[in-house]
């Protein structure tokens, strides 16, 4: 691995994504990508007593599924990198507590999926053979922690996004036929003073812009080098903002760019306002949809930029603005 440019790392070893798995909840199962997910769960509780327990089950089952598809045994996995949105990452830790695999719980809000892929790649580059990366989120547990009770009769603003219920899991290996992680660009925390917790897309777009431009200038690539540039969960509002901001900097991304939160739901039919969000948004869209496009060779070069809003309920109540972050991972055949 070597550093190129200001903030990008180029991986010399071929780090292969050998398998992925995605499990989603009922609303995601009605969305445009339903046929790409491995499992669609019709009950938000998934037979558990609480949403938190259900979310742990999502990440556990997605990880078991990814492991089974990779034909590796649990003992072959050197380390897990996993994270979610709940306090102290309990979905990940409770989901993985029976795994008996070395575990690192990580937090990057909704950017956690790319954070996990980056750290997993570094781990393999440093000598590990196989690493499992997983993230989850759950609409109900996220609403409970960050906003209001579900049964409260309030109105959502047009900018608000819908936390994706589900989990995505991938197995990285030094032995595999690809797709390969070739570069990653860790993001810097970017805060443009947005305080509206219902407008995450606007809060995170500048972070995505910074990471995107850093990645492109470090690698000397143009946006068109990629078949697809995908942000994690900027949603409709953030997506439009990013296209405009990138154009101001001289990068026309409109032909290749989309957002996982935009792809996840049908905005007109599903009443999801500005689109999907959450750790599971980029994880399930990548694990379910994008990975299949890569394996079937419909596309060969993807830049995935998972975006995160690094705030909590207390910081919002104390009037703090919302710092954004975005981590980019380049995946190529």
């Amino acid at each position: 691995m070597k550093k190129i440019g200001t903030n990008t790392f180029k991986l010399d070893d071929l780090i292969s994504i050998v398998s992925t798995a995605s499990i989603v909840g009922p609303k995601e199962s009605d969305g445009p990508l339903k046929e790409y997910f491995d499992k669609c769960v019709e009950d938000e509780f998934w037979g558990e007593k609480s949403w938190e327990k259900a979310e742990s089950k999502f990440i556990k089952e997605a990880s078991i599924s990814a492991l089974n598809k990779s034909s590796l045994a649990a003992t072959d996995i050197d380390c897990i990198f996993s994270g979610d949105l709940l306090n102290q990452c309990i979905s990940s830790t409770f989901g993985m507590r029976d795994s008996n695999i070395p575990f690192y719980g990580i937090f990057g809000a909704c950017s956690t999926f790319c954070e996990a892929l980056s750290l997993g790649s570094v781990f393999i580059d440093a000598g590990a053979n196989n690493v499992l990366c997983a993230t989850s989120s759950h609409f109900c547990s996220a609403e409970k922690q960050f906003r209001f009770p579900l049964e409260l009769g309030n109105q959502r603003t047009p900018n608000s996004q819908w936390t994706v219920t589900g989990a995505g899991s991938v197995v990285l290996s030094r032995n595999g036929k690809g797709p390969f992680i070739t570069h990653f660009t860790p993001g810097v925390i970017t805060d443009m003073g947005i305080k509206d917790a219902n407008n995450m897309g606007a809060a995170m777009a500048p972070a995505a812009l910074k990471t995107l431009i850093t990645h492109l200038s470090d690698t000397g690539r143009s946006p068109d080098y990629y078949d697809m540039i995908l942000t994690g969960d900027l949603g409709y509002v953030g997506k439009d903002i990013l296209i405009k901001l990138a154009a101001e900097q001289g990068y026309d991304i409109s032909n290749v760019y989309n957002d996982c939160g935009v792809l996840m739901f049908d905005q007109a039919k599903q009443d999801t306002h500005a689109g999907g969000s959450g750790c599971a948004c980029s994880a399930t869209v990548f694990s379910g949809y994008i990975y299949k496009l890569l394996v079937e060779k419909n596309i060969s070069k993807v830049l995935l930029i998972a975006t995160g809003a690094l705030m909590n309920a207390t910081s919002s109540q104390q009037g703090e603005s919302i710092p954004g972050i975005a981590h980019a991972v380049a995946i190529e055949l």
């Binding site: 049964e151 409260l152 309030n154 047009p158 443009m192 003073g193 947005i194 439009d240």
Partner: protein
Amino acid sequence: MSHVDSPKEYQKFIEKESPNSPIVKNCFRAFWVGGLICAIGQLIYFYCTSKGLDNTSSSTVVSICLVGLSAFLTAINVFNRIGKFAGAGSLIPITGFANSIVSPAMEYKSEGYVMGVGAKMFTVAGPVLVFGISSSVILGIILCLFA
């Protein structure tokens, strides 16, 4: 010149880029649903007085009925849909108050009856109670002093 040069510039740009809530539509819905809820209350009131209850008792029966109905509709996952449609129309009458107590009670049942339901029941309605009661105390004192 870029819109991310300064936070001030960016916030101005965001205001332009972000869609606004449909205020006229929301106001119209709030008006007629809120009016309907009040009309239902008035009908209950007329019924009570026609049966011979005095005015104060009739008002109490109206409150009990609307709170009970709102709590029931919250429990069967209907009130949040009414609230989503009507906004302040169902929030401002006493129905909204009942909903704001029942909904966290349901949500936090998984944390037990004491630290869950009991402790969290007033997370939404608590501030309304605190400042409602405080302001009525202050008004009461003013009334005592000047009346």
